[in-house]
Symmetry: C2
Subunit: 197 residues, 2 copies
């Protein structure tokens, strides 16, 4: 189920968990390729070799950081695909993604925003068509261009809206509500779509 309260990447803990938390902070601030293993080591007060003890490569760290979110996304997509009504599909995706973003604000920004991260995910076969699956769930079959544009703005806009300093002062519950509100406003197109077919 998509409704759990813990962030995907724990902020406390020992060994790997602290490493992942530090890496996430740096990734979110500097980008993946703007973050060196040295920086991660420094943030933890250890040496590069200590980092390599936990993960064999930098790519592994990136994957470890983002894969919880990817798995959750996949679960959301799967859950939505099992719904039969279009309305329920869209709603499941929206609520699931917004929830995921709000629960761990910076993680999703890395996932969606960083081209290096996206390349790494592609190379390792993670989320190949997941992104398209989610878009398809939102726009439905035979979407008109206006819907595609709206969904694109929505999907890429949500991530920054969850992370940027602009919304830092807004509480989780309220942010969640506003995001869903925006999503519904964007997707409620007043075009009957009868014209095309």
């Amino acid at each position: 189920m998509a409704t759990q309260l813990e962030p995907a990447v724990p902020r406390e803990g020992t060994g790997r968990k602290k490493l992942l938390a530090a890496a996430l902070d740096l990734f979110a601030e500097r980008g993946v390729s703007g973050t060196s293993l040295q920086m991660i080591a420094d943030a933890l007060g250890v040496t590069k070799a200590a980092v390599y003890y936990h993960y064999k490569t930098k790519d592994d760290i990136v994957l470890a950081v983002v894969s919880p979110a990817i798995e959750e996304l996949a679960a959301i997509a799967g859950e939505a695909e099992r719904k039969r009504s279009r309305t329920a599909q869209v709603e499941t995706v929206l609520v699931g993604i917004v929830d995921l973003i709000v629960r761990n604000r910076s993680l999703y920004a890395v996932l969606q925003g960083d081209l290096t991260a996206i390349h790494i995910l592609r190379e390792h076969g993670a989320f190949p068509e997941l992104s398209n699956r989610i878009l398809a769930l939102i726009v439905g079959p035979d979407p008109d261009p206006g819907t595609i544009v709206a969904a694109s703005i929505l999907l890429s806009g949500l991530h920054e809206a969850g992370f940027g300093p602009r919304v830092a002062g807004i509480g989780d519950e309220e942010l969640r509500g506003h995001m869903l509100d925006c999503a519904r406003r964007l997707l409620r197109h007043r075009r009957p779509s009868a014209a095309t077919a």
Copy 2:
């Protein structure tokens, strides 16, 4: 680092322009820090040193690539700030930005999406508060959180919506229309019920 103005008259022509075009393509695809000078040189069929002949540093290339867009953004902000009605201010910003994005689809993605690029801009004093100026123009004075969220989604969503493969098949004029449509839908908020806060 003296403020030596470069040979301001790019008389010999297409050298730099081709370089900037190649750099932009790579930045848009791999990100700034994922792009090496070697890649740029290879794309042009020259050597790294030839690239250094045109620009002294990599940062200079980044600045040269994005500064036309920044200047346009600044002009848009300035024009909007001179309008007296709020409606005209918002409209000027929206139309200006959407226009800029559509005219130049990948450039804006680099500008907004790449953390390395943003760091470079900050370090060189370019667009310090430009981003905040534009947000302020859109949300107006004393914005409620819902408006801030909507504007954040909009501003960060537009760039990917202008560049991503999803919209690649949509013509400029149509894309422009849909983007403006989305923007207006997002910003036309009904006030949240007073009970909540």
